[in-house]
């Protein structure tokens, strides 16, 4: 399922125009991105949570050439699946 699939299903389920459903979906994921950009945390009950993890920079080595490379500090988004969804996904097996 991609974003348009999600929009379509939301529009059908909630009797919204596709335009309105697209606005809802875009607002949600734009809000998620902005929150993470600001270093904030997102917690959706029954679904999961997103946090930003900070990684320090370090000097690495290219294993092929043996050259030293500086890996700069970085921030990465992380998703932790909620208990209810975790169990549902596993039961689907």
């Amino acid at each position: 399922m991609n974003k348009s699939g999600l929009i379509e299903e939301l529009s059908r389920k909630e009797n919204l125009t596709e335009k309105k459903a697209a606005e809802v979906i875009n607002l949600i994921f734009k809000g998620f991105s902005d929150e993470l950009k600001n270093g904030g945390r997102i917690e959706i009950r029954g679904f999961g949570s997103f946090v930003v993890r900070e990684y320090k920079g370090y000097t690495g080595r290219n294993p092929k050439t043996g050259k030293n490379i500086e890996v700069p500090p970085k921030r990465l988004p992380f998703f932790k699946v909620g208990k209810e969804l975790k169990e549902r996904v596993d039961k689907g097996k």
Binding site: E23, F32, D90
Partner: protein
């Protein structure tokens, strides 16, 4: 940020009533959860992909007792953030 904040945004920016906004937000996550429970992948361009992975059974150890145990096969949900999102966090 929680569902409450999303409901507030839908109310302020898209002119839904709070009651409708709350129902719609539940619907969005229900649709996603149902798809993932069926083992489907969800791709949100600009944000990331939610992927269901099949894990084979493997040997593990109870870290408390040191006892060897078999970790059964399972399905787990993973999230791979999009390049766009990762870039925006490091801009």
């Amino acid at each position: 940020m929680t569902k409450i904040d999303i409901i507030q945004e839908l109310y302020e920016k898209l002119n839904f009533s709070k009651k409708d906004a709350a129902r719609i937000v539940e619907s969005v996550f229900d649709i996603m959860k149902d798809a993932l429970a069926r083992g489907e992948k969800i791709k949100i361009s600009g944000f990331g992909n939610f992927i269901v992975k099949e894990k084979k059974p493997r040997r593990g150890r109870n870290p408390q007792t040191g006892e060897e145990i078999v970790i059964s096969e399972r399905r787990v949900l993973t999230f791979k953030s999009s390049q766009v999102l990762r870039k925006s966090l490091n801009g």
